[in-house]
Amino acid sequence: MPIHEKNLIEKEDLLEKEKAVVDGVDVSGRWNTFIRERLLSDYHEDFVEEVKSLPGGRTVTNCWQCGTCTSGCCLHTDYGLREFNPRYFIYLAQIGNVDELKKYGDVIWRCISCNKCVERCPKGVKVEEVVHNIDEVLRRRGVTEDTPGSRWDRTYLDNIMATGVLDELGLTLKYVRAEKPEDFTRGFMARMAVKIIRNGNIRTGPIRRRTRGWKKMKKVAEDILERDGYASAK
């Protein structure tokens, strides 16, 4: 029998067996292809509640699935990463379909925070923050592991928590040393450093600046981070 809407079948849902016997009947050969059930069998309301409870997550339920965000998303369009679909991630979060979200575990974190989606969303969804929260909740639940994205976030947080002022140079060096991204060769780094120092996009120098009274403020910031479950703050 021909399979309709083949495009809806995902590779990992196709089972092909060398030899297959069903109820005593040998169905090897033409009939040995099976498709794993794709049924949606329940909603999990706690997921969206958790996304909502993190800072910036409140608007997750505003989304009505229009697709404006995705249609302008740099990752989805310019970089051709079609699997990166913030609209879809938000829907999966709304109905709590963790199994499906898991498939995108290595995609969701790739948002580059250009915030075009936030500027355009007709329902005022803070898409960028919401998508980050979805990523965060997946990790907190152990569904996904640490990613370069989450490690970046942590390095960033640690960096700014040290003095209250971001030290871009230190941040970049630390991250690049740890992650060793392929594209970040020495030559590339040097050229970039010259460029951004010249055009003033980077303001740190060898001397680390700090926020006045940071000790006291840091305490407040830490309490808030701890309340929201960002354990790495301390």
Binding site: L8, R38, L39, L40, S41, D42, Y43, E45, V48, T59, T61, N62, C63, W64, Q65, Y88, Y91, Q94, I95, N97, E100, K123
Partner: protein
Amino acid sequence: MASPKILIIGGGPAGLSAAQDITDAGGEAILVEQEGFLGGTPKRLHYSLLAPDLKPVEEVLDPLIDSVQQSGARCMTGAKVESVNSGRNGFTVTISGGGKKVEEKVDAVVVATGFAHWDPHKKYEYAYGVYPDVIDFKDFEKMLSDGNIVRPSNGQVPRRVAWLLCVGSRDRQVGKFYCCRLGCAVSIKQAMEVRRINPAIDTYVYYMDIRTYGFWEDKLYWKSMEEFGVKYIRGRIGSINRGEDGRLIAMAEDTILQRPSEVPLDMVVLATGMEASEGTRETAAMLGLELEEHGFVKPLESDSMPVSTAVPGVFVCGTATGPKAIPDSITEGSAAAIKALNYVRKRSIKVQARA
């Protein structure tokens, strides 16, 4: 010239509004209502809060009922119009009620006989009347008015309630091609009420598209998702089954996921459509009014003369001509009143000129 005397059939929002304006303008109104009370369908079925401002029915309709009763209009409840004969000088009508029959001469007639809920038994796939936890939204309105949201099957508080829109609307299979105009708004309103009463109950609306036109968009639709966390599932439930644990299983396609969906639900509320009431059909037949293709009274011109009919001296308002909300029904009642008064005035000028 004697003050114009106008018969109004039907004491719902539209008829009440017509009666009020006729008496306010110095006319004589006879309001005939078949039920023992005024206020129409919202009162008869005990609606709770009204869309879009979530005001109780009493707050919206009681002032209108009171002012009609105090205006000097003759309100005959528990009464029906038996026959209408039109003559050279208006109509002779026979009204029966309370075991008596009276004859009246009137100059014009306003029809405000309203709508009926479509009967969901006819959509057998949804098992209304078979599974007690499948109810329609007039049943749910009553439940909300009583302030007691429980599963009819076991008296327990539901964890998940879903609404299914367009039951008996927009459906070739049941011969209803039109939109009920209110199903979306009322379902959304009900879901918000549930969340307000008990936020532990999760609410889902199964839809094809959401038609909360005009200001109902942000007042109802947006608010429901943004402030009340009502969730929306795009797909029309095809049938409702019962799972082993007695919960309902909604067989649908989640068209955003592009997957079959068989999610357990504790209650399903069917957003049943509107059709012309039996009273509307009977009255139309009695007065010789034509029905339009959906079975409602056909106005003379649906675009430019919505409350006039092809029969001189007979006017129509409210849901007798098609689905509409209370404010529109009230507006049309006023429109029918002025049209009827003008008709009588113009005719009497003609009669005087002839004399």
